[in-house]
Each structure stands twice: as structure tokens, then as C-alpha cells.
Symmetry: C2
DNA sequence: TTCCTATGACGAACGCTGTTCGTTCTACGA
DNA sequence: TCGTAGAACGAACAGCGTTCGTCATAGGAA
């Protein structure tokens, strides 16, 4: 492809036909170049305010005053972008130096932190299902968790599999909590209305068909997110101990 | 609106202008009427073969030889359709008559069943997050679960909150398992390739930065879905017992 | 300095999505 | 026989992820 020769006296400038696309059409001035960091920033901002389902390549591009296609020079695809966002959020997590005297409390605090961080990013936790940590910050988080569990002196199998279990629990709890908070934010009063309806619905259940459920209505509707999450953590950690004890009693460890 | 009068000798048939839409254009013959059941059938078929993300109103309609708009006469929206699908699947679950001697085994079998049923429907479990059971079959499933737990003689709070915890665990485990099975089906050999890469990746982790993780590689990669799910159930149920014991020791129950 | 090339920016397009609208057709009750 | 309720349904709207071809620029090579 050759460039247009400069006009001279012998060869005056050739007018461009109207139907030919102009070579230097009026274009907005070139903006500051995109960066992966800026893209992740914008994506996370959308997730934080409108939830994961509102995250689209076009919305991210819009926030950066560009077009969706431009993002693909920095990010392989949407899946890749989500992984980057998850890694960014994993970077918010931090675990203390393991203390064998207080590993139980450290673990509980750590998991509360994980849940809160995810929930602060609305329903982002949804994207964490089915993912094995491979990004830098998520690997660090895993390392921090395992280190604390290891300080508890449990068998390796119990530690490794429990880490899975606890992480899955924190992710699930964060997802459900984030989902509810998102709905409340997008539709103020939703929580009260929804749980009011649920309460009324359960109170109206026929006790002939659902005798046990009806007999337990109080217990079923008791407790807020924190109470219930704390209960789950207690149960899992007590269970880990009991499981390890059983292994030792059976001479497996 | 008046009907076109029949042509007579005095009043010959008036030709319809070409631009006027014909009154009786050639249309396919009216088909057997749609039903909610048929719609749920079609939707579940799509979920079973292609996963939840492939479920669209148009695909369902296509399967029923009609248009997407026709579905809205029987189903409020996609969310409603998914709830109907979930209820249908909940109907596959069944729990035995509670036996106080074997409530632990009954619970474990029941939860394995729940996980397997969800996983058989690919990643459908994803849609179960954040949902409180209100549909007939899901209420029955909850009743069956609670009845078995009640036979264990634990305090109501432990039963109710544990039911939540266990159901969440079964849902999460089913989701992750279903996700992997879906990927394997859509891309045969995926599982082996993926876990091979993961194994190689973990083996390549620098032990200076991730000392604990590296020291536990064996434990971290051990066990299949069933082993790990069984471990989680064991831990949770041992934890429930220990939690109840602790409550009793503190005079809380 | 001048040219070439690699790279990022970007508009347009493709084939999807959930949902709504207005129209048409059919079956049933009066 | 008529009127009406309700289902069926095509078209449309705004949005989606991604790809393509084109363009402008920056940096290295000559």
C-alpha cells in the first residue's frame, strides 16, 4: 500500500471523491492508553455497584470512554477479565502469622474476613465456584489459610480437605449474602418485604403436611447472617477436631 | 369491526389492495396447545444436555416448535421457568421414614442423593443459591431432611441451622461437580487435561513463596468427588454432635 | 531523518439474549 | 350466531460477547 504523494505545482492535490472514506476524518483525540489495571478498576466498580450480572464488556468500555473492542487488546475475553477481578479482590485478604495457641480464632477471623470481602463486592463470589486458585493473590490467600490450619496440628488430609470445605462455605455464604444486599440496594426495602412474605408463608404452612417444619418455625427463622455464619464455622471446626480424633483413635494418623 | 360481506352479483368482490395485509394469510396449522409441563420438560432437557446457561426462552420454544412469545402465556418469565424446573427436580428427591437408630446414615444417604440428583442435571444447582424453599416439592424435601435430623434428638437450633448448612454444602458440591461434568461432556478429555495442568502447575510452585502449600501437595490433590464430599458430610455431622454436646455442657439446651 | 512494522484503538457487524407489543386465530358461553 | 377471552405468534427493542477490517501512532531499523 502506497502513501498519497504530497501535492506539488505539477501535480495539484487530487480531490477526494465524496463517497471515498476520508483519510483523516475528524476523530476524537487519542486518549491515554488503556491498561489492564484501569480495566479491572472499572470492572470492579461496576460489580460493586450493580452486581456481577451487570458486568459487560460494553459497560466497562463505556466507563473508560472507549469501545468494547478496545478491551480485547489487554484482556483475552470476559472470563479472563473476571479472573483478574477475582485476583484483585483476593489481594484484599490477609492472614496473620500462625499462632498455634489461637489457630482456631485465627481461622474464624480469617473466614469472616473472606466472607465480608466477597460480600462487599456484591455477588462476585458467584464467580469463584469451580475455580482452583492459580492466580498470585488467590494462591497467597490459600497459603495463609493452610498455614493457620497447619498450626492446629491436624493430619494433612484433614487440613487440605477442610480448607476446601471452609473455602466453599465462605464462598457460598458470601454469595447468598451479597445477592441479598444487592437486591436491597437496587430495591430499597426488599429485605424486609421479602422476609416478611417468607415468614407469613411459612406461618401459613399446613401442619398436617409439614409437621416437622411447622414445629420448628422459630428455629428456622431465627438468627441473622452473622449468627448463622458463625454457627457454620463452629460446626465445621468442631467437626474437623472430632474427625482428627477419630482418625487417631483408628490409628490412621 | 365488521366482516367482509359475501360477494353478490350486485356487489362484486372488492379486490384487496396489495399493501393491505391479507386477512387469511397462509399459516401453519394450529398445533397442540402448550402446557406448563411440556415447557418444563423442554427446559429440563436443555439443561440436562447443555447446561443452565444454554437455557433460553427461544431454545425452549424451538424445542416445542413455537416462538418465544408463546411461552409467556404459561410462564411469567425466565426466572419463573427456572423455579418450575427446580421444583420438578426437587420432586426427584425422596427421604426415608426417620429411624432414630440410623439417622446419621439416613442423613448421609439423603445428602448424597441430593447432590447426585442436582449433578445429574449439570450445573442446575447454581440456580438454587439464594432461594428459600417455597415450592411444593422443595418444601417436601426440606420436611424430609428436618424429620431425619429431628430423629437425632439434637436441639432445634442445631437442627434448623445445620439443615441450612448441609443443604448449602450439597448445593455447592453439586454445582462444582455438575460444572466439571458439563465441561467434560462438551469437550471430551477436558477433565484429564485440566487436572493434569493444575497438577503440573502446583508442582511448579516455588516452595519459598508457598512453603505450606508445597508441603501439602499430596493431600491437596488426593481424593475424588465422592471421597471429598463424604469427608465434608462427616465433618459437618460430627460438628453438629459436638456443638450440641457443648450446648448441653453449657446448659443451653 | 526516513521508512517499516507492530500494536493498540475502534466502528461496524454477527448472532445471540429476555421481554413486550399488536395482531390474529380459535374455542367456548350466551 | 355472535361476542369475547385467551392463546399463539411475528416483529421489534435494547442489550450481550466477540471478531473483523481499518486506522493512527510509536519505536526500531536503515
Amino acid at each position: 500500500m502506497r502513501a498519497e504523494p504530497p501535492p506539488t505545482a505539477d501535480q495539484p492535490e487530487v480531490p477526494t471523491p465524496g463517497w471515498r472514506t476520508p483519510r483523516k476524518a475528524a476523530r476524537p483525540p487519542r486518549r491515554a492508553p488503556l491498561t489492564v489495571d484501569a480495566i479491572v478498576d472499572a470492572a470492579l466498580e461496576i460489580v460493586d455497584t450493580e452486581g456481577l450480572d451487570a458486568l459487560s464488556m460494553r459497560r466497562v468500555a463505556q466507563k473508560l470512554d472507549t469501545g468494547a473492542a478496545s478491551l480485547y487488546a489487554h484482556v483475552a475475553n470476559k472470563e479472563d477479565l473476571i479472573e483478574l477481578v477475582l485476583d484483585r479482590v483476593s489481594g484484599e485478604m490477609s492472614f496473620p502469622e500462625p499462632d498455634p495457641e489461637h489457630w482456631g480464632d485465627q481461622m474464624q477471623d480469617g473466614m469472616r474476613q473472606v466472607r465480608d470481602i466477597y460480600a462487599r463486592h456484591r455477588d462476585l463470589a458467584k464467580a469463584n465456584f469451580g475455580r482452583i486458585p492459580t492466580t498470585p493473590h488467590s494462591l497467597e490467600a490459600m497459603e495463609g489459610m493452610l498455614a493457620i490450619l497447619k498450626a492446629g496440628g491436624l493430619p494433612d488430609k484433614v487440613i487440605a480437605w477442610s480448607a476446601d470445605l471452609i473455602a466453599l462455605y465462605a464462598t457460598s455464604a458470601a454469595y447468598e449474602m451479597g445477592l441479598r444486599e444487592l437486591r436491597e440496594e437496587q430495591d430499597p426495602g426488599w429485605t424486609e418485604r421479602y422476609f416478611g412474605q417468607i415468614g407469613a408463608f411459612f406461618a401459613s404452612l399446613p401442619k398436617e403436611r409439614f409437621p416437622v417444619s411447622v414445629s420448628m418455625l422459630d428455629a428456622l427463622t431465627q438468627g441473622d447472617d452473622n449468627d448463622r455464619f458463625g454457627f457454620g464455622l463452629d460446626v465445621i471446626m468442631l467437626g474437623m477436631q472430632a474427625y482428627a480424633d477419630r482418625m487417631r483413635a483408628n490409628g490412621e494418623a
